[in-house]
Amino acid sequence: MRHMETASEQIRIRVEGLMNARMVSLEILADRWVERTPPDFSRKRFLEFAENFYTHYPGFTGINWIDPGGIVRWVFPREGNEGFIGNMVSEHLNSRVRDPFQKAGEHLQYATTPCAELIQGGLGFHTFWPLIYNNRVQGYLNGVFRVKRVMDTCLAKNILTDFWIRIYEADRLIYTNEEQSHINPKKDNLHVLRGIHFPGKTWQLELFPKADLYPPKVVRNPGLLAFGLFISAILSLLLHFLNHRMQMYRRARDHALHEVSERKRAQEALKKNEKKLEALLTELAAKNAELETFVFSVSHDLKTPIVTIEGFMGALREDFGNLIPEDCEKYLNYIGDATQKMELLINDLLELSRIGRLTVKKTEFPLADLIEEAVAALQPPIEARNIQVTVTQDLPLVYGEKKRLAQVMENLLSNAIKYIDKENPSPRIEVGVQEQDDQKVIFVRDNGIGIEKTYFEKIFQVFQRLPSAKMIEQGTGVGLAIVKRVIEYHGGRVWLESEPGKGTTFFFTLKNKEA
């Protein structure tokens, strides 16, 4: 009796061990197939894999590939399996095959069929492993096991000679080594039942001693029994170890898959965001261009009536000058001044809309040139106000659109001139460069009326003028906006320091020429 226990345990361990190993190998194969990016689902590669597994892991009847549509395409080995090629598994006549296959596709998990008559011949079962890449099923790996072949691989000769073996799945007898039924279970109650479990299956093993062997062998050799138990224990341990390894492997795989899909999701989200940002930037650029074009054409349309006003004011004076009374002349002058101011405004607006829209080649040139030209251009008001202008020595080269930067320098200088109080006994302007945080900072300093801190940002906006500017006649409120746009267009920064009553210093930086 104990001998029978040992034998049945041995059978259980061997069948479970073999099947577990085959299932794992199929799983590995399925994973390997999709781990390339993009997966290389070639017939050649599949057959290489299949042959390798078939040869080194006995027990398989067939290793096949089923396409995503459920049709068997590639089989290994060809002999014995050729009848399977072209079969539509998804519409298999036997629902016991069809259903697990569909389940594998739906749940994206391996599925095992119950035992049935195989096309390859004999009784056996299929396992289906969905090959998933990019969240899509790229086909199925199909392992075919004939029960007889599995048992032949597992069972030792002495067991076959000593015992009658029956294996049931559910209530169906799927394997036996009897040529004809020798046993009458009712009469012969000396038999052992054992459960055999492996992924997707539970079998019942029934073991009967062949008549002539029992009972003598049973208790006669306790040493052998002990040895058997020992072996059994070791095999159990081995099985446990194997199972453990498989679980570990599974967990690692799940984890890796999870990580991969997480990373993919993150990448996709990033891509989506990038696209959104790109679209937004394009939209913004288009809006900006549109606005600039608008400003440009509006400015032109505004110019047309000014040409008319100025023209006819001139014509009036010329043709009827001697008829115009003094008061009327005064009024005409008001109109004239207003028109001229409007013209200045329009020109400034036009200029502002041109920055960045019209690009001239950037060059490298001495900063001293810029300052010299700006001072020369503003010589009349400088002399009229008796302003002392000092320029520091050893000025560096700067890089940019010379005409625009000249405009910046001129605007800053004329701004400084404007905001020096007429009553100031010693008006001064200083222009130069200082090192600050490893950067060359160009500055224009005056000892004018100064600016309240609350206006530091505002003065760079179009048409923003200081309350104190009321007493200053000229100026359109665009000059500093142009300065800011030009400097920012050049990749630099502009800011100011000021104290009311003491003066103002404007600073700006420029990018160095790219290497």
Partner: protein
């Protein structure tokens, strides 16, 4: 009879600007006739002696065309194109006279063989001076081909 054409065709939709331009031409001492049309269609009618300009004696080929760009309907560039593609008209000097400083307009004008591109200056004196210079250069200094009548 061959003759040297001397009348000026001014194509200008802004009545005030037309008036100013005509006045400046007069002041420059040019006594030639200045005919004003206010849109592109009329300009072409004038040049091809159609509709109310059918009288060829009264409206001969002009010696100079001052052409605004922004016109209602057929715009200045279209008129320029028609003139410069017509063998009978293409030798007439066409001066683009506009408030537009758009680079695009300048480029397009020269692409279609405008003889000159001028912007209307703001300011009475500047305007008069520029027109006087145009008149002096194109009507006096510049030698034009005789036109078969």
């Amino acid at each position: 009879m061959d003759y040297e054409p001397s009348n000026i065709l001014l194509v200008e939709d802004e009545e005030a600007h037309a008036e100013l331009t005509k006045r400046a031409i007069r002041k420059a001492g040019n006594a030639n006739r200045v005919d004003i049309v206010s849109n592109g269609e009329q300009a072409l009618d004038y040049l091809y002696n159609r509709e109310k300009y059918a009288d060829k004696k009264k409206y001969p080929v002009p010696g100079l065309i001052l052409l605004d760009i922004k016109l209602p309907g057929i715009d200045g560039i279209d008129v320029l194109k028609t003139i410069k593609e017509d063998p009978g008209l293409k030798q007439i000097p066409v001066i683009m006279l506009t408030t537009s400083e758009r680079e695009e307009d300048i480029v397009r004008s020269y692409e279609h063989y405008a003889n000159s591109y001028l912007t209307k200056p703001v300011g009475f004196k500047a305007f008069e001076e520029k027109i006087a210079q145009v008149d002096f250069y194109w009507m006096i200094l510049n030698k034009r081909p005789l036109i078969e009548d």
